[in-house]
Symmetry: C2
């Protein structure tokens, strides 16, 4: 506290324990006093000497603060007369504003959002809290313990030693050209997709892709077929465009096209996960694929194919892509490096149908800035040097091994509690519960035992009769899988577990 | 070309010069023949032996391709009878689809965009083509030659050696916490802004920030005050939300608030560049700042403060921020590392007003995935270790020196052609032309002489009487500045230049 020139007390404090220069603290303190009218417009300031003594700081420090406020026009220096609070505050600022501390919580109604978004918000699905890390049985994470980080660091270091203009400048918002080319080559070789690099648009992850595509093509209220159950991130992103999601059920061949046509014949977009239905794990059958393509063609609708973990089949043949059958250029293929490399890369891509490439080019150039060059360049080099293909090969056998451990442990420890079936591909499995089970009670019991499981209900736009849990194994070592299975088994057997709440001793 | 089982000729080609495995080429070729009905549904395939001979490849290669197509359901193997094209194609696929080559260009009308976006597209401003690199007199780029890349590489390498779970996992979409904290600390120390780290939302650049804020808060058709002339990227991003941009003129104190109130009293958002008006370079006066804050408060409107190059003042005092005067929590402060560090980082941030933090938190968590952890972590460390503050200090004196060289050279070589005035801050200067000059003719003449200049008209939503060019100097060495000035002078003197097209021998 310091005395005002007129004798009043100024509540100005210095906290020497803060990592903030004292002159900045004085500056902010005075600005605050002026803005809250505790220092009145036109008032004479104490001299820098007085203030320095009162605050027990050097005079130079106070002079620095005054000079800053003078340069901002907040204080005015009149030669011979001293320093004054600007009269500007008299004219313009509302009289009574409570000091900042009391205003931390906004009073009254919360601020209004765009109506499209406030509608969307009502239907958002809960996502896991961030950051999330490997733990039994979190899904969707690759095996962090197996990633060749030393090699990665070497490539990264090589990148930063390249030409300054290459490394530092803006690259095109559509993506770093060598990466677009590497992706197009990879897709041709490994995913049966023939496309030119100009069709590849690099994005900061699959979820950005879904938001961009739907934002660019859909008007609010237009209908989107959405798998039920279906991907949570995609659901939220597509909702944010104002589109109306029409839940379309899944059978053993994938999304039920006929039911989709019945519910929303004028759909504008269909979101599907053909190679490994998210979360049920079904691979869409050929007939169903052709049926979906025909329906989209007839309705002039677009399709988003989310190939989120299609790189990881365990059988000898890679799962087919819908895009490889797409002769009418209706399919947006969306891929991600979050699973084939690692999530913190924040890198994915879209294959844009040819008729839309020019428009996407235009919009990306006008509105977007793209992903960091460094991450794109290192991924491009990782692919180009052949590390990507060999990493995927190695990871396939690791994931297959982990799935076997997972399945064997589940058979041994969860028999009668949860039915788990092996899958051909991917990072997770489904544990089926009796239809009358309470998935959320089971989730809670598992959580209390330190195990994360995701009820299928989380993935549903409309309730399903089938009950079950999504169980990830890809990021866990065999011993972590076994330990997690013990914990899960005890949770399911315990009084709060599923046997206690739902199906009894089934 | 190979013979069909029935004797017909199959147009199936292998190109050994391609970087694409032969079995993949066979696979794609057959899929294409089947999809285009040149191989009919139910048709018997030639034997793998015949195909191998006809294509002059090993039988194993053909077997691999067949296995892939069988796993996709496209071919069906009937024991003892051979391999057949699936009947699925008979039921589902439209009869006549021309082969892919002929369909490269979409026939007829271009596909429909979301109406908000197709309206926005009409008003998009042209942006420079990407990638863009240092060149006389491109604006908005930092001095690439001065960036401490070796130090950066060291910090990057250290990052990749940290704990795997830290380095590889998803971080929160709001931003990497140590970076949010480092930014909040920096803003408190150097920009007079007091905020908590929870208010800092990391984005992939200022332009994403503008798009997010307007998309989250504005309904289509709602009015936004926009400086005229004003920032091009911001204009496109805000337009994409469907908002209506109301051009508000600039005088010597910045945006003319009174005129804004006259044109659009019910504005929902104002976009401003108070510390260094983009592109005119004016610093908004204190009275005008308070007037703007009062107007926003009265209209319950928001303000975006784009502090795009506020880190680079040449005088002793940093320019003030609007946010430091914002007692009613109406101001979004947007900062970027594209200029203080380098553009390819793709990193910026928003200070979100306290009443909106919870909503932004919710929406970011539901819809966004954030920026790569690696770039965020290296920037955080760069700030934390003090390199950022010392880099800015060093760069300020370098930019000041470059501006002096620029200004002296302009005085010496452009006298009578272009009036250039020095500025207090920033990366560019304005060269004023006579009011009857044709900016675009001058731009073309300069371009022909190898010099990039941006007419102020590019930045305008409605035409200005004032004519001029935006001239960047920050990324150029003193000798590049002088050489560029020679080229510009000869362009302006030449027959196609400004003297030839507009003001004659003024």
């Amino acid at each position: 506290m310091v005395k005002h020139a007129g004798g009043a007390i100024l509540p100005l404090y210095i906290d020497r324990s803060l990592n903030k220069p004292i002159s900045v603290q004085i500056c902010m303190g005075l600005r605050d006093l002026i803005l809250t009218k505790r220092l009145k417009p036109g008032a004479r300031m104490p001299s820098t000497r007085t203030l320095a003594v009162d605050l027990d700081v050097s005079r130079t420090t106070v002079v620095g603060a005054f000079e800053q406020l003078i340069s901002e026009g907040i204080l005015e220096s009149r030669t011979g007369a001293g320093t004054f609070v600007s009269e500007a505050f008299a004219e313009n600022y509302p009289e009574k504003i409570p000091p900042r501390k009391q205003r931390r919580r906004a009073p009254g109604a919360p601020p209004r959002l765009a109506s499209v978004l406030s509608n969307a918000e009502l239907h958002f699905s809960r996502r896991r809290p961030y950051p999330y890390k490997p733990k039994a049985f979190v899904s969707g994470l690759p095996a962090f313990d197996q990633f060749p980080l030393a090699l990665w660091n070497r490539l990264s270091s090589k990148h930063w030693r390249a030409s300054r203009n290459e490394v530092l400048s803006y690259d095109s918002p559509q993506g770093y050209t060598p990466l677009r080319q590497a992706i197009a080559d990879y897709l041709g070789q490994f995913r049966g997709v023939s496309c030119s690099y100009e069709q590849i648009f690099v994005v900061s992850g699959a979820q950005q892709a879904f938001g961009l595509i739907s934002g660019m093509l859909l008007n609010p209220g237009e209908e989107v077929w959405f798998e039920n159950p279906g991907a949570i991130g995609a659901r939220n992103s597509i909702l944010s465009s104002g589109a109306r999601l029409i839940p379309v059920p899944i059978d053993q061949d994938g999304i039920m096209v006929e039911e989709g046509l019945h519910r929303a014949p004028n759909f504008r977009l269909a979101f599907v996960t053909p190679s490994h239905q998210q979360p049920l794990g079904i691979t869409m059958g050929l007939r169903r694929r052709l049926e979906l393509l025909r329906a989209a063609d007839a309705a002039k609708a677009w399709i988003i194919e989310d190939d989120y973990d299609g790189d990881f089949q365990y059988s000898s043949q890679p799962p087919p892509t819908l895009k490889s059958l797409d002769r009418s250029d209706r399919v947006f293929y969306v891929g991600t490096f979050s699973k084939s490399l690692f999530p913190s890369l924040r890198l994915g891509y879209i294959i844009v149908p040819r008729p839309l490439v020019e428009i996407f080019d235009h919009i990306f150039t006008a509105m977007l800035q793209g992903s960091p060059t460094s991450t794109q360049a290192v991924v491009a080099e990782f692919i180009r040097e052949g590390h990507f293909a060999s990493h995927l090969r190695r990871m396939r056998s690791i994931y297959q091994e982990r799935q076997t451990v997972f399945y064997e442990a589940a058979k041994a420890k969860l028999a009668g509690l949860l039915d788990v079936y092996p899958m051909d591909t991917g990072f997770h499995s489904i544990g089926h519960l009796p239809d009358d089970a309470d998935e959320y009670a089971v989730e809670q019991a598992a959580f209390d035992a330190g195990v994360a499981v995701a009820p299928i209900g989380h993935y549903c736009l409309e309730p399903l009769e089938t009950k079950g849990l999504v169980l990830g194994f890809s990021s866990l070592t065999p011993s972590e899988i076994k330990a997690g299975m013990d914990d899960l088994a005890s949770a399911l057997c315990g009084p709060a577990g599923f046997r206690g709440t739902a199906a009894g001793n089934s």
